[in-house]
């Protein structure tokens, strides 16, 4: 074959198929070969439906032959196993959803499908997206393709590992506190968390409803723009999606940063962070200056409260969102329960893993009688302060540059015993979710061990055009 699936991007696949240099079926077969070759080592996928994927690809090829158009006609997309795809499992990497077959497409999935995308398989994640390493999957631990002794990041670790490992052209993840950006950074790919309300959440199994967003994980910024453009826009099924026109994200990828003012939030360059990471990110900042951007120092004073705020709000919402998993209507049920309460208690105890249980307990606690004001209500108020911090800095600059994480990927097992230490690693990503703004993770180098570092570009709500343009300019100059 004259093409290489391993490094293929969405826009390359599209132009190859348009020029009739290959078919969707060939791409899928190539991809399935890659999965067979490497997934035993990486464990990115929870399910690959070969026959179904080939059939979808054949249908796409026929459609193309008939002259039908589609922005993603015949392009394979891997989907995090937390998004509903009609007729497929949706386990959320939890045993509690074993046996559940989704009867409907998430809106984002439906939009990709209507543009001709092919759904290859389901990628691994931290159970219900709760985690930053993908070690919390109820089924298996995904490894970082750059070095399989390391975690891929999480919670969309399967999607990032599949893309970075050449097992997927592009993938969908979800980002509640960094779950797209962090694994993208750890694996060395591009991850976009759109603004809250930009992509419909309908069909995304909710972890924390006021923070969740679907985002693409891709090999380059152009692909992120293509996928965002396909999925974005108001949806009548999601009341929190926003009726703002979807711009042509591709058109904004001009390649330069002239007249751009970029802020460096001082709270995101703090002692305690990995000095190598800081050095690499600062080098990336310098490159952006060289591309014509003006760099200014800014401050987001409430950053130190972000992790607390995030863990109160996210777990509170999660405690309610996950209450529905009770063994009555779908999924797993314990056998031999004596009454409904017994059935709930035992089903949930057996069906959920430890991190999910911890978060449900924390979330239940912060909402319970007598504690609501001190935790949940206070957290919502701090959320207001964090949001205002961003509103203020976006009056001073177009976007912000920052690291995605204070460290590179951890070794597998390194932090599993200490949840608080794990939570603190989310410090640079949770703020975007709390404020509802958009963020992009772009690879900006590797450390001495060859582990990737991500540059985070944060933009104002519905400022995806800006951050994609910045990410694209940086990426073009670096490769």
């Amino acid at each position: 074959m004259s093409f290489n699936v391993r490094n293929m991007t969405v826009h390359e696949a599209l132009s190859l198929m348009e020029r009739r240099e290959c078919t969707s079926e060939q791409i899928i077969r190539g991809l399935l070969d890659e999965i067979r070759a490497v997934d035993g080592r990486i464990d990115a996928y929870l399910m690959v439906n070969e026959d179904d994927a080939i059939n979808q690809a054949k249908a796409a090829d026929r459609a193309r032959a008939e002259g039908k158009k589609g922005k993603l006609l015949g392009v394979p997309i891997a989907v995090k196993d937390i998004l509903n795809v009609r007729g497929q499992q949706c386990t959320c990497a939890s045993r509690i959803l074993s046996g559940y077959v989704s009867p409907y497409d998430a809106t984002a999935v439906a939009r990709l499908r209507s543009e001709g995308a092919v759904f290859v398989g389901r990628t691994n994640l931290d159970e219900f997206a709760m985690g930053s390493t993908t070690e919390n999957s109820g089924f298996k631990v995904t490894k970082n393709p750059r070095n399989t002794d390391y975690v891929p990041g999480g919670s969309s670790g399967g999607s990032a590992a599949a893309v970075a490992g050449g097992e997927a052209i592009a993938a969908l993840g979800t980002d509640t506190g960094g779950s797209v950006r962090l694994p993208a950074a750890f694996c060395g790919c591009v991850g976009l968390k759109p603004s809250y309300g930009r992509i419909s959440r309908y069909g995304l199994t909710a972890y924390a409803s006021s923070l969740d967003q679907i985002g693409p994980i891709t090999k380059d910024v152009t692909d992120a723009a293509v996928l965002l453009g396909t999925m974005a826009g108001w949806d009548e099924m999601d009341s929190t999606s926003v009726k703002i026109p979807v711009p042509d994200y591709m058109a904004g990828l001009s390649g330069d940063l002239k007249n751009m003012k970029l802020g460096l939030p001082r709270e995101y360059f703090v002692k305690g962070m990995d000095p190598e990471v800081e050095k690499i990110v600062r080098a990336a900042v310098a490159k952006c200056r060289a591309l014509g951007a003006e760099i200014v120092d800014v401050s987001l004073p409430h950053t130190e409260y972000a992790v607390s705020t995030y863990y109160i709000i996210a777990t509170a919402e999660a405690s309610a969102n996950l209450a529905r998993f009770d063994g009555v209507r779908y999924g797993f049920r314990i056998k031999g329960a004596s009454d409904p309460i017994d059935m709930y208690g035992k089903t949930r105890a057996a069906g959920f893993g430890p991190e999910v249980k911890r978060r449900i307990i924390l979330g239940t606690y912060v909402l319970s009688s007598g504690y609501y004001d001190a935790y949940y209500l206070s957290a919502q108020k701090v959320r207001t302060l964090i949001r205002r911090d961003f509103e203020n800095v976006f009056k001073q600059c177009d976007a912000l540059l920052a690291p995605v994480s204070p460290t590179v990927a951890y070794r597998i097992g390194e932090k599993t015993g200490d949840p608080l230490q794990m939570y603190l690693g989310d410090i640079f990503t949770v703020t975007a979710n709390l404020a509802g703004i958009c963020g992009l993770s772009v690879p900006c180098g590797v450390n001495k061990e060859g582990l990737p570092v991500g540059l985070q570009v944060l933009g104002p709500a519905f400022g995806e055009e800006k951050i994609l343009r910045i990410g694209h300019a940086y990426e073009s100059a670096s490769t």
Partner: protein
């Protein structure tokens, strides 16, 4: 800070909260979670250091309001589809252990 004083004496009661959340934990789980969550709670409490008296809470990141659907019937799922996902059924209903009221 009244809040701080209050929260310093309050400790998460993992066994009670787990029951509220319908999670039947083992004693070992309760011990482990108690230790871990004590740390987490002590950490997250620090938001009460801030003066939040005159701050409005944010429950939605976007300022959207009045999103309605019209009162129109749309097709749902078939009973076969619905029952095929059910762990146990009885006469096209979801079977559960006997409910005592």
């Amino acid at each position: 800070m009244a809040d701080l004083k209050m929260t310093s004496v309050d400790k998460i009661d993992v066994a009670y909260v787990a029951h509220l959340a319908r999670l039947f934990l083992t004693d070992e789980e309760i011990r482990t979670f108690q230790g871990q969550l004590d740390h987490v709670v002590a950490y997250v409490k620090k938001i009460n250091e801030l003066d939040l008296k005159n701050v409005e809470p944010t429950s939605h990141a976007v300022m959207v309001q009045n999103v309605f659907r019209e009162d129109v019937v749309k097709p749902g799922l078939s009973v076969e589809q619905v029952m095929s996902n059910a762990p146990a059924t009885i006469s096209d209903q979801f079977q559960v252990p006997k409910i005592v009221e």
